[in-house]
C-alpha cells in the first residue's frame, strides 16, 4: 500500500459537486498547493466545510474568488470580502456556525456520534430549526454530526505510512477533519520514514489517511 501520490493523482479524485473539508485556520495549516491545484482544475459547485473563508489570495478563499464554491459552512468569513459579496448576490450559500460547534460536529462525524448537545447558540438565530433539549435545568441545542466526501489537510511531518505530526498552530481543524471524510488527502511539508515520528507524538494515526502528497 503506497499512499504517496503525485498532486495530480490525488486531485483526480475531486469532482464537481463534492463536499470537501479543508483544514487550517485563516490559511494557517491549509495545504496551499491543494488550493492552487483545485483552482487550476476548475472543479465547481463545491460544498466547502472549513473554519473560515480564508483570504482572497490565500487559503480556501481562492476557491471562492474563482466562484467554484456553491455552499460554504464556516464560523468566520470576515477576512475574505468576496464571501459577503457572493452571499449578497446569491451566488454563494453560506452557513455560519459557532467555531466550537463546528469542531464538535466534524469530530462527531468522524467518530460515529449522531451529534452533540451544546449550550452554544441558545437564544440566538443559531438555534433556528434545531431541536432544543433541556438537561438538569440547562438548555442545549442538538447539533448534528457532519461528514464530507473529501478532507484536504495539511501536515508538517508525515511518515510513509500516513502518521501525521502538526507543528504549532497548524493543528487546528486538521486532525478532526482527517477522521470525518471518505477520502483523506494530506499535504505533507516533509515526508519521513516509518518510525521517525515517536509513536507517542503521532497526532493523526495513519489509519485515517488515504493519500500523502509532498507539498
Amino acid at each position: 500500500m503506497n499512499k504517496i501520490k503525485t498532486l495530480e493523482e490525488a486531485m483526480s479524485h475531486i469532482e464537481d459537486g463534492m463536499s470537501i473539508m479543508i483544514g487550517g485556520f485563516m490559511a494557517c495549516g491549509t495545504p496551499e498547493k491543494f488550493m492552487d491545484a483545485l483552482v487550476e482544475k476548475g472543479v465547481k459547485d463545491l460544498t466547502i466545510i472549513a473554519n473560515d473563508g480564508g483570504f482572497p489570495d490565500r487559503g480556501l478563499g481562492k476557491l471562492i474568488v474563482n466562484k467554484q464554491v456553491k455552499r460554504l459552512v464556516a464560523s468566520h468569513v470576515g477576512l475574505n470580502p468576496e464571501v459577503g459579496n457572493q452571499m449578497n448576490t446569491g451566488e454563494l450559500d453560506c452557513e455560519l456556525v459557532p467555531q466550537g460547534t463546528l469542531a464538535e460536529q466534524i469530530r462527531a462525524g468522524g467518530n460515529g456520534l449522531g451529534g452533540i448537545l451544546t449550550p452554544t447558540g441558545v437564544g440566538t438565530v443559531v438555534e433556528d430549526g434545531k431541536e432544543k433539549i433541556e438537561l438538569d435545568g440547562k438548555m442545549y441545542l442538538l447539533e448534528k454530526a457532519i461528514k464530507a466526501d473529501i478532507a484536504l489537510i495539511g501536515g508538517s511531518i508525515v511518515d510513509k505510512k500516513g502518521n501525521v505530526y502538526y507543528n504549532k498552530s497548524t493543528k487546528n481543524f486538521n486532525p478532526l477533519m482527517a477522521t470525518a471524510a471518505d477520502l483523506v488527502i494530506v499535504g505533507a511539508e516533509k515526508i519521513v520514514e516509518v518510525g521517525e515520528i515517536n509513536a507517542n507524538d503521532v497526532m493523526t494515526p495513519a489509519l485515517f489517511v488515504d493519500y500523502i502528497v509532498e507539498v
Partner: protein, 217 residues
Amino acid sequence: MNVKEIIAKRVAKELHDGDVVNLGIGLPTMVANYIPADMDVTFQSENGFVGLGPAPEADNVDMDLVNAGGQPVTAIPGAAFFDSAVSFSIIRGGHVDVTVLGALQVDEKGNLANWMIPGKMVPGMGGAMDLVVGAKKVIISMTHTAKGKAKILKECNLPLTAAGQINMIITEMAVMEQTDKGLVLTEINPEYTVEEVQAATEATLIISDDLKKMDIA
C-alpha cells in the same frame, strides 16, 4: 491616555494571578499591555494554543504560529498547542477564567450582539458564541457609543451572540456590572457626570452606593 488605553488598562485590573484569559481581536488585545510583570496570566488563543506571547520581530516570523486573527505571534515557555476541539473544550468547558470581547450592542439583560449586521456585515461569530457561553467571566470592552449612538441598550436589536451571559461592561466612560436587578454603574470616568453617562446609555443604569472613580492616568 487615549480612549482605548483607558479601557484596556481598566480591563487589565479584572485579571488575577493564575487566570486563563482569551482576548478578542482589536481593542481587547491591548489588555495584554497592562498586565503587571509579576502576575502569571495565561492567554488562550482559540485557534489552538495557550501561552500566547507578543508579536514577533519582523525577522522572526513563523507562519506556523498565528493568532485567531491569522497574524503571526509568539508562544511563551510552557505553552501548549492543541486542535480546535480541545481548544473549545477549554472554552466551552469553563476552563477560561475571563474572556474580553468587543460589542456592537449590549443590553440591560446581559445580552450581547457582536457578530453581524443583517444586510450589511456578516463576518460570522467565529469563537465568540462559545467564549461568551463558556468563560467564567465575560467582560465587554468597547467605546461607550458609536458615532454618538448608544450601544448599551434596553434591548439589543441586532442578532444576538448570546443571551444573558455578560458580567461586566467597560467603556471609556464607565464600568458597569450585570446583576439580577439590572446594569449597575460601579465606576465612572471623573471627566463625566453620572447624568452624562446615563445620557449616553439607553439602558437604565442603577447607580452603585459605592460609586468609584476610574483611573484614567
